[in-house]
């Protein structure tokens, strides 16, 4: 069991990160903290998918003179590049919403906002 965990340390780490992020999203009261939790979850998933493509001793997959196998798998990296773009857009929308909420209500604590409603 421990061996299995040790050989898959990268996956285990991303699962733990994912859980930390989810914990923040669910329990934190401050909207910014909630949102940072979401970012941690995103990082966990990205790390997991990039780790999928890693090949032991692999080179960057650039063809040309002197290129020799093994190569790392470029597809997960390409996917995550797109994923990061999506994450940045989510971040910008969320932060601008938080700014607007603060301007209107003067607070970003979820419980105080709920009382206002």
């Amino acid at each position: 069991m421990i061996d299995l965990l040790w050989t898959n340390l990268d996956y285990a780490a991303s699962v733990i990160l994912f859980c930390i992020g989810l914990y923040c999203v669910v329990t934190k009261n401050n909207l910014i903290k909630k949102f940072i939790g979401l970012n941690i979850m995103e990082t966990a998933v990205f790390a997991f998918i990039v780790a999928l493509g890693v090949v032991e001793g692999g080179d960057a997959p650039i063809m040309g003179v002197g290129a020799s196998a093994p190569f790392t798998n470029p597809i997960p990296q390409a996917l995550i590049l797109t994923g990061i773009v999506v994450a940045v857009s989510t971040t910008s929308i969320a932060l601008s919403l938080i700014i607007r909420i603060y301007q209107h209500c003067g607070t970003i604590e979820a419980d105080e906002l709920r009382e206002m409603e």
């Binding site: 994912f18 989810l22 999203v25 909207l31 909630k34 949102f35 979401l38 979850m41 995103e42 998933v45 997991f48 998918i49 999928l52 597809i75 997960p76 996917l79 797109t82 994923g83 999506v86 857009s89 989510t90 929308i93 969320a94 919403l97 938080i98 607007r100 909420i101 209107h104 209500c105 906002l113 409603e117």
Partner: protein, 494 residues
Amino acid sequence: MPASALLVSVIIVPLLGAVLTPVVGGRTGKASGPWAFGVMLVTSAIALALIVHVANVGPFSAYLGGWEPPYGIELRFDEFSASTAVICLLGTLAILFSFRYAEKELPTERIRYYYTLLLLNLTGMIGFVVTGDLFNLFVFMEILSLSGYALVAVSGEHTAEMAAFKYLIMGAVSSLMVLFAIGLLYALTGSLNMADISVRLAGAAKAPAMLAVAALTVGFMVKAALFPLHIWLPDAHAIAPSPVSAVLSGLVVKTGLLGMIRVYQIYYGAKVLDLSSLNMVLVWLGAISIVMGAFFAIFQEDIKMMLAYSTISNIGYIIMGLGLASQYGVIGATVHIFNHALIKATLFLGAGAIIYRTGYRNLTDLRGIGRSMPLTTAAISIGAISIVGMPPTAGFLCKWYIALGAVEAGHPIFGFALVFGALFIFVYYIRMVNTFYFLEPVHPEILEVKEAPLSMLVPVLILAALCLVMGVLGRIPISFIEPAVIRMLAPLGG
């Protein structure tokens, strides 16, 4: 034009249209509404051509950049992708409805961005239903979700922004679930093409395949707002501008369901897991959703809040039909995806027209509105009858099919849940119709209100007429979707 070029342009046209909207609209945003309307008309024409093609020759594909799958991105148009038609129809009518609405309810400088976001949202949905690539599916899902969050907040009121934030948090977590599952499936099969994954998954390890299907199901369940993951929906759908509510409630939640259908297509084909226990969970959650959604709706004063809760119970019907995994059940569920979109759009746009004219949204304040806005309230009443599922309206046929599906799958008890839910739904829609027509007005000025302006009345009346027509001609969508459902369920040996 060859079919594959048409298939690409059904995404490109609205996408380009969306990008150009702020430029065309200018500072005042006056031209942006008609421009968006024109873009959607062109897109609708393309979608119609595609559906005619799929009805004649069956599913077909386009390869982006000429790269064949599994290496390139494949767009695939099958019978389920025909929901493009309803996306285009509702999108076009919602934009038409927005002309007057946006002018009054939105700050002037936001109007052009409002249309941009609406077009982007529709592009995302069209892309979502026509793509054959799992990662591409995720990207389109994010386009429609991100524009959805912004659309909820577009009015700039603080309640709207809070609702949008809640929606964003739930939506982003569910997107991550889906992305995680896509990563798992890629690790298992080395492919991102859905048809290819389905083939390669057959020999895969069971545990990760199960984890992937669980993550996908939960992710799409949040998008579809199935009980108990529905908590973001009522606020977001009730507070958003009415045309946006119609699009969100009629279409955006449905993408979660179409996503589930894609997952089923992969997993049924691969035969790697026995999904019957997952299906049982879905049927139960669907049944609970039907009853709870209807139950909460009864106590709502706000007319749009009531409609939002009613969406939750209708999602329950559809999930139940999908989970039954019998031919009738799945056909009923798929057709209800189309029909509920029509019905809910009628109701939300009608409610929007009333709110536009009166400024009231509580049922008590709206007493007697049937006398001053007869056409709008008549349309809403048709929508109400349809959603309860009375023959000969659009809602009846699908619910009948889902009930037949419950019997066919050997669980007639869920047929009772369905009827029980319909009774609940009947109660609160009767309450609404009663308020409109038979109660004495609280505010006398409500009798002086004029009928909705033409650009609002036309979409509402078209949709109401379609609710009736789809009830009478219900055979057409059913026979259209039947071969796809038979193909999907064939590996189950049914």
